[in-house]
Symmetry: C2
Amino acid sequence: MKDVALAAGVSVMTVSRAFKHDGSVSADTRNRIRQTADEMGYVFDTMAANLRSQRSGFIAMTIPSINNANFADTAGGLSERLATAGLQLLLGYTNYDILQEEQLVEQLLRRRPEAIVVTGGRHTNRTRHLLSKAGIPVIETWDLPAVPVGHVVGFSNAATIQALVDHLIAQGFARLAFIGGDADGDTRGADRRLGFIAAMHRHGLDASRLIGAGQPPISMREGAQAMGRLLDTLPDTDAVICVSDLSAFGALTECLRRGVKVPDQIAIAGFGAYEISAVSVPTITTVNPFPRDIGQQTADLIIKLLSQNQPFTGPTLIEIKPQLTLGQSTAKIARSGFV
Amino acid sequence: MKDVALAAGVSVMTVSRAFKHDGSVSADTRNRIRQTADEMGYVFDTMAANLRSQRSGFIAMTIPSINNANFADTAGGLSERLATAGLQLLLGYTNYDILQEEQLVEQLLRRRPEAIVVTGGRHTNRTRHLLSKAGIPVIETWDLPAVPVGHVVGFSNAATIQALVDHLIAQGFARLAFIGGDADGDTRGADRRLGFIAAMHRHGLDASRLIGAGQPPISMREGAQAMGRLLDTLPDTDAVICVSDLSAFGALTECLRRGVKVPDQIAIAGFGAYEISAVSVPTITTVNPFPRDIGQQTADLIIKLLSQNQPFTGPTLIEIKPQLTLGQSTAKIARSGFV
DNA sequence: GATAAGGGTGGTAACGATAACATCAAAAGC
DNA sequence: GCTTTTGATGTTATCGTTACCACCCTTATC
């Protein structure tokens, strides 16, 4: 910058201003400086600027895995909207492990983000401590924690599944099973399974048809294997809820391979409103938690929190209302010409 | 850090050392300092450290979209392996637009990454200029550019599709169509389409059965729609290659809805070895470009380049060999009991 | 014509860490 | 016992930018 200043015949301060949206530099001077800088191959150093101004321009976010279309959507919606405010998303992956999350949060905080977004509401004590002491807005997403660390943009995984159970029972299904939600790391999956059990009990029905699917992320293949076990061990099951659409689709393919008719012999529902739920034959009943909205609303909240002067005005709770999306896979009378 | 030093009764320099893997601090002092720091809620400031040491710890990467399992795999493999070397991935999205890529590259370079990874080999002139002048390793991936900017870890999209065409023709198919690769932004899709045309010409066959699918990313739904147009306009087509597995699966579902038998009436092949190609009924013939390997090998290359002292020892070319994975969707005699 | 207001510009110190060198005590070597 | 080596720690300047204040000159205001 010093060299650019010299070459353009101005002070470093003026060069610095020329690279900002600072109006107090004449258009003439600004253009001359910009051109000189371009010719010299000068690239502005954001890190030094950040250090001096004590503003990093980073928003940190932890997600369980990059390889999950739902979380990717949330990250995408967040990243996109943050960009409009000149903020950059700094992403880290926890692999569905709250110990890895702890390490990650510590590492991310060292970059001095202006806010931090975490996926889920279950953390180690140390993570909670680090987050609450960081002195920046903390937003938990994809959950409604009982005792939030800071702000929340999310929904209740348990309540959502309960609504789905209610729907299936209203449709006349009675011997319901649940696939997934058995692994330690998958807190959202476990919440969904608990919601299933609670709803079944509320209806006075047997809630013991639980099929494990292993560690998250649960794939299509694991969904198919779990469905195989379900059909082998509890063949009178008339409907199954899967922890996600991917496992639901896998379960559906297992039925196709075995000649089990969906939904006539068994109904299948998923979670997440992945594209495949709307395209597969038959289409799959699912729940849309609006992942992109979660990201965008989180971004809006962050921008609002950073723009106001008072550091803390009480925690915000933004509840997303997931939407039940009916597919052919749970219709009591088969509509598709395919099955 | 000054406060920690004061509280622990040492100099700032000793505190600085206590936070490094620097052995030249006695275990006693180190522990005392760490504990003091923890109690005070002190968090190390990476940005300041980076400024002074002129090492950011960042590796920048541009990908077209976060919402694509293949690119996500590459980013995941890269990120994971970089972490072992203490490097952090700084990710940006181009939305399949080389103008957005230009902006993004400029923005990323301001963070002083130690290397930059770009997806694809087509860039604006200014992007090429910025990259080559940045003075850091540049790696292009997912392509084999004719004139690379720096290093390359990739494969030829065109050659890969040609191998697939050769296979289908050897199987006895002759009236082949191609879905996708028509949009400006999708350079890799366009390369695949060109590979299709070249291969068909080489075999002396009609290469005009080209169905557009619009702007990337091409979804399952768009694949289904394109298949609808293909079946409507060119019903005698006996095999179709789709630009990706997602569109191939969409195409397959359209056939299911219409009662068109796959592969008896029409064979379908995709690209990318997405999980769905192995799970769907019938399974889909595809090509595996080993996206995770691309990421890991890129990470290895970066770590090697950064560890050696000489700044430039000539560009490296690491060619990934995509693997043809046969599925039921192109078998000449249907094996599945399903169709 | 004197004063005020404001746009444009420059000088200096500082953000929080580390590179480089200096220092000092204890251990090792002769 | 004296020099040399080694390990642990301290001192100073600096990375590249911006906050803060000072300054000048032009233009408006009375």
